[in-house]
Amino acid sequence: MNDKPKQQYDIAAIMNENINVMRDVVPWANETRFRVTKVEKGHVFGIQPWEAHLVGDPETGVIHGGVITTFLDNLCGMACTSAMTEMRFVATIDLRIDYMRPAEKGREIIGEAECYHLTRTVCFTRAWAYHETRDKLIATAAGTFAINKARLGGSKK
C-alpha cells in the first residue's frame, strides 16, 4: 500500500465498502450477531437482532444488557475510525451505559453512534439504542477511545 503521511483517505467510504467484513473478523461480534448498516463520517448505524441465546432474563425474554454494551461499544469504536483521515485502530478507554427501559422480546434494536470530538490521541463518542426512534430510548452510551499509533496494515509512519 502506498502510504504517504499527508494522504487523506475517505475512511467512511472504505468502511461502507467493507461493512460486513468489519463484523466477520470479530469472533465475539459474530456471536452476538449484530450488523453494521451504514457508515458516515463520524456516524455509524447498526442493528442488533433478538436471539434466544442472548436472553438475559428468562422470564421476560429480554436480551442481556451486556449484548447492548457490546453492540454500542463496537459502533462507537467504528464511529471513531470513520471520523479519521487515515485508518487506525482505536481501543476503548472507558464506556458508560445507561439503561432507560428494557428492550422488547423478539424485536431488533437499532443502534447509532457518533464521534463528536477527536484529538490526536483520544476520540469522544456517544451512542443510542432504540426500537423505533431516539425519542424512546432503550439505552445510551458515552465512551472515550484511545487512538493507536500504528496504522492498519502495519506500514510504518
Partner: protein, 142 residues
Amino acid sequence: MNPQLTNPRADEIDAILKRLPFAQTLGMRCEVLGDEMTAILPFQEKLIGNVAIRALHGGAIASFLELTAMLQVFLVSDMPRPPKPINLTIDYLRQGHAKDLYARAYVLKMGRRMASVRAEAWQENRAEPVTALMAHFLVASD
C-alpha cells in the same frame, strides 16, 4: 465442609447461571464461599475481539463483569430474583489476553432502592486488573 458456613444463596447462583441463556453463551461459572464469590470466564475462541492481537472483546469482558456484579448483589441480598441494572461504567485498564478471566464484585452500598457495586476482572495477577466496572442496580421490588 461445615454446612453452617455455606451460603444457601450459593445454590441459587448456580441455578440462575444455568437458566440464563446469555450466561451460558459466555460460558461463565461462579464459585461461592460464604458471601465471597469468584466468577470465572474460561477462555473460548468466540470471546476474541481482535484476531490480530488475540485480545478478548471488551464487550464480552463487560458482559461478564455486569453479570458478576448482578450476582454479587443477589448473593448478599434477600431479593427473589437478580437485580436490574440502572447504569454502569467500564474502565478498560489492560488488554485481556486469550486466557481465562476471573472477577470479583464488591457491594459498596446496599440501599433500600439501589445498590452500588464495583467489580474487577483479572487474569494471572489480581493486582493488575484487566477491566474495572462500577454499576448501579435497582433492588426495590416495586
